[in-house]
Each structure stands twice: as structure tokens, then as C-alpha cells.
């Protein structure tokens, strides 16, 4: 089971140009969401979008700049919840720019979902379910036999 999202995209533009679209609030708004981002470590900012009550999302993504290396790396926390400052989704978004001969490779990773951090076990679960189903079926059989013999 995947525990993070990864995307990779090539741009025929220099890293400086791609970087602008990742770090200038007015340009970010054009493709992402309205925001008050500033390229400073520790800066707290928000993305604002339409609330989705059915998803327990009040429309505000609470973020904080965690890492910033101009034209190379940008990472911020990405948290959201149903409102009143309650956070239920806690994750990290990281951007990396790799300069190429004729452009820039942009790498996005959205991961570190809180709750997923120690869940490497997820991938091992498929077999576990089957085994447990099997076991419970056995137990139920035994229980039924016991009831019928009583």
C-alpha cells in the first residue's frame, strides 16, 4: 500500500522560472490555491479553497515552511481539518528541482502522513487478513460444533 504521493514532471524552463511558480504567492495562486506564502523558513501560511464538509475539510490548509533552498528544494507542512483549528490530516509536501540540459525536472512528494509513519506493516497486511479470516472461520466452525453438541 502506497503511503505517499509522488509526481515527476519535466519543464522546458530553467529552474529559476519554475521556482518562481512554487514560491511567489501570486503565481502559486494561478495553479494551486489562494495563499499567503512567503519563502522564509518557519513562515506559517494558509491555502484557501472551497470547504468540503463531506470530507471533514473546512477549506483551509495550514502550512509552515520547513525547508527552503532557492531553486532546489522547498518543503512545507500540510495540515487540515473540519474547523476550529482542529487538525485531522497532518502531512508534508516537498518539492525538488533538478536542473537538466534543456529544462528542469520537478519532483513532488506528498507524504509523512501522520499515522502512516510506523505503518510499514500495511504492505504486509494482505496475507494477514486472509490468514485471520481463515482462522476466524475455523473458530466459528468449532463454536458451532460445540453449540450443536450441547
Amino acid at each position: 500500500m502506497a503511503d505517499r504521493i509522488k509526481h515527476q514532471l519535466f519543464f522546458p524552463h530553467p529552474p529559476e522560472q519554475v521556482w518562481e511558480y512554487l514560491t511567489r504567492a501570486d503565481l502559486m495562486q494561478l495553479w494551486l490555491m489562494p495563499n499567503d506564502f512567503k519563502p522564509t523558513i518557519g513562515h506559517e501560511f494558509q491555502f484557501k479553497t472551497k470547504p468540503m464538509p463531506q470530507l471533514d475539510f473546512d477549506g483551509i490548509v495550514y502550512c509552515k515552511v520547513l525547508e527552503i533552498a532557492p531553486h532546489h528544494t522547498l518543503s512545507y507542512s500540510w495540515k487540515s481539518g473540519p474547523g476550529n483549528g482542529k487538525i485531522e490530516l497532518d502531512s508534508i509536501v516537498t518539492w525538488k528541482l533538478v536542473p537538466k540540459d534543456n529544462g528542469t525536472e520537478l519532483l513532488l512528494e506528498h507524504g509523512a502522513f501522520k499515522g502512516f509513519d510506523h505503518l510499514g506493516m500495511f504492505s504486509a497486511l494482505d496475507g494477514g487478513w486472509f490468514k485471520n479470516m481463515h482462522k476466524i472461520a475455523e473458530l466459528l466452525n468449532v463454536a458451532n460444533r460445540e453449540t450443536t453438541t450441547l
Binding site: 500500500m1 494561478l30 475539510f57 510506523h118 497486511l125 494477514g128 460445540e146
Partner: protein, 107 residues
């Protein structure tokens, strides 16, 4: 029962609940035998089990006098749904970014 998608993250954010899932991933267990793995009181363990049950991570079956817990796929699928949601979200936003920058070249 109404499920809140974001809640699944809260549910698995708790170390004791993760430990319960880890134990159950090896074998189905009764509530009593699960409680033996923890220092906390049995009611406290029961509370965690109730939360995991409510979020669709485990099912509880009464067999004889014992209550057996076993993993259930539903809760894990919800986590996967959220990963899928963001996957699509970023894909569409990156598409937008790409066309913005492509237009820049043309102009």
C-alpha cells in the same frame, strides 16, 4: 455508521492503536489477550478497540464467551482513498502549472 475520511488518520495516529493493528496483523486475538500486551487497564484497551472498530479497521466476533478481534480491510481502504485523492489533486494542479509555463514560452 457515518465515516469521516479524515478520521482514519487520527485513528492510526495513536501508538497504542497502531500496536493493536500490528498485533492483529499477525493473528486474530480476543480482547483479553490483546489487553495482556498493554500496561493500560482493560477498559482503556477496550476504548481503543471500539475506536478501531468504529473506523472500520477491525471487526469483532463473539465466539463462545470470548470476543475476537480481527483486521478488516475497510479502514485501510479509506487511508488508500485519501492517498488517491491527493494523487489526483496534485496531478490536476501540476497539469495547470505545466500549461501556465508552456504558455509563457509561446508568448
Amino acid at each position: 455508521m457515518k465515516q469521516q475520511p479524515f478520521d482514519v488518520f487520527q485513528v492510526v495516529a495513536d501508538p497504542s492503536r497502531r500496536e493493536i493493528l500490528r498485533l492483529l496483523s499477525k493473528d486474530s486475538l480476543t480482547i483479553n489477550s490483546l489487553a495482556e500486551h498493554f500496561d493500560m487497564s482493560r477498559p482503556a484497551v477496550s476504548k481503543h478497540i471500539k475506536i478501531l472498530h468504529g473506523a472500520g479497521f477491525i471487526s469483532i466476533q463473539d465466539i463462545g464467551r470470548e470476543r475476537h478481534c480481527l483486521l478488516k480491510q475497510e479502514g485501510f481502504e479509506k487511508l488508500q482513498e485519501w492517498i488517491n485523492y491527493f494523487d489526483h489533486f496534485w496531478q490536476s494542479r501540476l497539469g495547470k502549472l505545466k500549461s501556465l509555463l508552456d504558455n509563457k514560452i509561446k508568448n
